[in-house]
Symmetry: C2
Subunit: 405 residues, 2 copies
Amino acid sequence: MIQQDRLKKRMLEMAEIGKTPNGGVTRLALSEENRQGRELLMQWMKEIGLAVRYDDFGNIIGRLEGSDPDAAVVMAGSHIDSVPKGGKFDGVLGVLGALEVVETIRGQGIDHRNPIEVVAFTNEEGARFTPQMLGSGAVTGEFSKAYTYARTDWDGFRFEEELQKIGFVGAEENRPKNVETFIEMHIEQGPTLEVNDETVGVVTGIAGFTWLEVTVHGDSNHSGTTPMSYRKDSLVTASGVIRALSDWANGKPDGVVATVGKIKTSPDIINAVPGETTFTIDIRCPDEDQFDAYFAEVHELIRRVVSEDELTCTIDEIKTHPPVVFSERVVGTIDEVCRDLEVSYRSMASGAGHDAMYMHNIADTAMIFVPSINGKSHCEEEETRWEDIEQGVNVLYEAIVRLSQ
Amino acid sequence: MIQQDRLKKRMLEMAEIGKTPNGGVTRLALSEENRQGRELLMQWMKEIGLAVRYDDFGNIIGRLEGSDPDAAVVMAGSHIDSVPKGGKFDGVLGVLGALEVVETIRGQGIDHRNPIEVVAFTNEEGARFTPQMLGSGAVTGEFSKAYTYARTDWDGFRFEEELQKIGFVGAEENRPKNVETFIEMHIEQGPTLEVNDETVGVVTGIAGFTWLEVTVHGDSNHSGTTPMSYRKDSLVTASGVIRALSDWANGKPDGVVATVGKIKTSPDIINAVPGETTFTIDIRCPDEDQFDAYFAEVHELIRRVVSEDELTCTIDEIKTHPPVVFSERVVGTIDEVCRDLEVSYRSMASGAGHDAMYMHNIADTAMIFVPSINGKSHCEEEETRWEDIEQGVNVLYEAIVRLSQ
């Protein structure tokens, strides 16, 4: 079994890099803090005796050879970049948990046929360079090299130059290859495990999502001189859509969620009826069979509310990704391990995207969740109990051992 | 009766200054365009034989002496500044309409005991320097000289220096004084006259208003990982308030309106449940007796919707002004004139603020509205039929003649 103290010590040491006053971290992708975190990670990998490399997107891989050097790879990991004022567990747990697993396997001289690799992917968060999960997407056929290199941050700095600046442009041949199995451990980032008093989530897939931008077209007028009955107030109508959308999602099975995160009126002044209101919609659904039907229902709902108010709207699709269903073989092994170790667990879908979503393109993949206190993440209050981490990493350990025989 | 062609020619000549490609004007207070408009106005005043002066806030006054130089002043006017991409009638009609009235009186040798003054107030729109109606407010005890001079625009330029820059700092003794009667003619800026096929609005007062800023406090969480039932989504609740507020105002008598013009979520990202949502409310009510009760109802409505959703909120009052009820004497004279001239008219309150609101502090005041096509104003499409303008200015003419005997 793994050594919790050793893992905790490393987690806290990593959390010193980019530490924020209220106990979080800001370690944006390809920043100086990110560089320091990378150097520390590679130093630890080397101390444990792993062969360390990084590829042309800066993804870092530490490799422990198995008894059969030609066998396919069993890989585990996540990312070490963070959002601004993020938490110390998001991503890091998946990388340092995997490192702890490999150190335990090596330390205890556990036999394994397959090589085992620990990975830290570049720019998972998408907080500096959009979209999210650039590093894993780039090595799994999701994004081209030209597209990835040309991504720019809010100051206009390009991914390629920023990667050069921190000295992490590796060789193309260093990308993950011949990966048979991938497991990503991660904090849940939601309340389900905590509320149900369970320690591990065996993640069976990732919810599909659609991001929409909706603009309601009304009529801008003076707020003082336009009687209520003459108004075509785009914000009143948008508000009707937002309430209806929330009611709709509340009536759907668990895992289906709908969120309006951004909203803007035009002309955006206190004493004018908003002529136009634009807002985003983020809908998620883990169920492959319902995915298309649900999104059609949402389009229908928007058009119904808008036409009831006798206004018009345009709906733009920003991005859509269908649900990902993970490997039965890997999910089954994690299930079995939880039962054998008598860890309380539940099967669940991930509502958020993770590197595992793209690794699923090239390997049999699954994820392991541990509880987030109050369901919080992407904030300085992000927290997971160390006992839960210990049990979760033990599940990862046992699963890796079984999958690498 | 007035000469429509002469008035129209001046209106269109003034509209050349700051003209926008789509037929509107941008003539912000104390801008170079505003200076040119002022020079043109003063030139016309002088051509007509008025004694022209401007005061220490740049308010321009042209005076026609009456038979009794010590009699109190009958004044008419409005403003010639505009919002960005505004219309060519807003404000200008009240100034050039009054100028046409005075030229007619002088040209036809109409006897009048009282001096008659035409005024153009500085910075009525509040589009460059907030708040609105600075010039009329400053000369009627609403704003101190220090406060007015210290107002800054979005670039940080101070009112005082900008007034100096265009050469319009006059003497304090040039302010309006001994004003007995003030009439402001203006476009309606709403649809009521047009919809009811009436030519003149006899304005009995100005709606009181309260501007509020409401912040709904919820909980920010990841949009993908937070089940609907665990959410405290501040925007969903704010949307409930916005719908309820609209329903509330729809159920009230004419003239009561409620508008949410600005709204902002935090953290304002597509994939986060909005933890906080802040929006403005603009409520207007022309009825003195209901003013306080209605505003209490709105506070109650906000708190009820927010507490039904089990969230909390804060309500800040930005600004409140009670309803203004104009002079019965002046309103009665305008009524009488409309009947005598057989002009179709209605009594109505103004939903918008005007210089008349502050002139009411020092003089018996009323307003005359003419129809706005499609109720539009503060935009390039702003339009009023020239026939309506002719009838409206004739009402102004006849009222001024009667009130200055």
